[in-house]
Structures are given as structure tokens and as C-alpha cells.
Amino acid sequence: MTELETVVQPGCDFAALMREHRAMVFSVVYHFLHDRDTAEEIAQDVFLSLHRNLRAIQSAAHAGFWLRKVAVQRSIDASRKRMRRPQVALEDVAEPVARGVPADPMLGETLRRLIATLPETPRMVIVLRYQEDLDPTEIANLMAIPVSTVKSHLQRSLALLREKLVRRGVREE
């Protein structure tokens, strides 16, 4: 512990940064990849990368932004490397047998599974919007894409998810 503390800058304590941001980094990767083990591995790599680049970090806020950006990039990279599961469009996902209105815990899992079938960019947009509560401008800045693209991905993904859920028998309240 002391070896690590000697290399960090004042205000950028590595251990404290990890404690503060571990749930954010892990959840961005986990909700994007829907795979807990891979998410832990990637989250670990993200923090090790922070450790190597700690000298470039100017503040705790900068560290948060940096970690979120690297987590987004690593998640997308990992998704592209995953050749074992080909990308399936949300429209093509098979409908399960209707079993009436699902209970709330089931709805959460159903939603996470449906999100996992979205293509890369809209999937990450949804994760950043509803997990991190970022607005479209912040998402556009983080992912280096136009704000209009973020807004159209949000609208289209919400419409698709709504349609899928309604078809599964989830009523609108």
C-alpha cells in the first residue's frame, strides 16, 4: 500500500479513486457486455491503466471523466473482439412464450437482456443515459459522436424496447 501511495499525486490517491469509482466503471462494462466475469477483468484493466497514467490526472473530477471514457472504450473494444456471439438486431430477437405480465424483478432482467441485444453505439448510449444519468451532450462528448446521433439512438432504442416489452405483455402504466 505504501509503495503505491508514494507514486500518486496529492488529491489523486489511487486507492480512494478506486473506492469512489469502482461501481461506476464495473457497471458501465457489465451493463454493456452483460457478463460479470469479463466486466471484472475489464474494470481491473481500466484501474491499472489509471495507475499507470496517474501523473496525467489533474483532479478527482478529471479522474472520474477519464475512467468513464476509458471504460466506454474498453467495453466497445471487448464487444468487437467477441466473435463468439454475433450481433443480433433487436428486431430479430425471438419472442419468448408469453407468460402474462412479468413481475418487476423479471422486468429488470428482461430489460437488461434486451439492452444487450442492441448494437454497440445505441447500447452504450442507453447505458450512459440511464445508468450514469448523463444528458445527450455529455454522452456525445464522451463517445465523440454528434449530439443528434445520440438523440436519435435514444429515441429509436426506447421505441424498440417499448415495442418489445408491450409484445411480451408488459402493460404501459
Binding site: 464495473f26 442507453i126 426506447l158
Partner: protein
């Protein structure tokens, strides 16, 4: 707020990694030595060593060639002086 957006926020709530995550990251970070020397300095040092070795080798080759030329000149000189002495001796 839209019911679907509310459900998405619930479904995508932040989750913690496993309890030993922090310990594993700290252990892995400790295993990786922190590079105190800047990369450009390490590259410059390597370049200097390679250049010095190259120059040293060229100097060594130059010295060897110089020694060969000097030997050849000494041999030629001794032969010439011997011929000159024979010419002098043959004169009436």
C-alpha cells in the same frame, strides 16, 4: 417521467464488483513496476549505446586497416632500398 425510462433506471442501477476486487487491483498494481524513467529517455539511452557501439566498431576497423597499410609500406620500402643497393653495386 416515462414508465420505461423509470424501469431502465431501475434495471441499470450501478452494481458493485466482487468484494475482493479492490484487493486484486491493488495486488496487480503492486506487481507492475512503476516506470520512473520517461520512455523517451530510455529510448535515447538505448540509441546512445547502439551508436557508441557502432562508432567503436568503426574505429577498431579503421585502426586495423591503418596497421595493414603501414606494414605494406614498410615491406615496400625495404624492397625498394634493397633494389637501390643492387643497382648501385652493379654500376661500373
Amino acid at each position: 417521467m416515462d414508465w420505461l425510462e423509470d424501469e431502465l433506471r431501475q434495471a441499470l442501477r450501478r452494481k458493485d464488483p466482487s468484494p475482493d476486487f479492490e484487493a486484486r487491483v491493488m495486488a496487480a498494481a503492486r506487481r507492475r513496476p512503476v516506470l520512473t524513467m520517461p520512455r523517451w529517455l530510455a529510448a535515447a539511452a538505448a540509441l546512445l549505446v547502439i551508436t557508441s557501439a557502432g562508432l567503436g566498431y568503426r574505429y577498431h576497423r579503421g585502426q586495423a586497416a591503418k596497421a595493414q597499410v603501414m606494414t605494406a609500406m614498410r615491406l615496400t620500402g625495404s624492397k625498394l632500398s634493397r633494389i637501390q643497393m643492387q643497382i648501385k653495386a652493379a654500376r661500373p
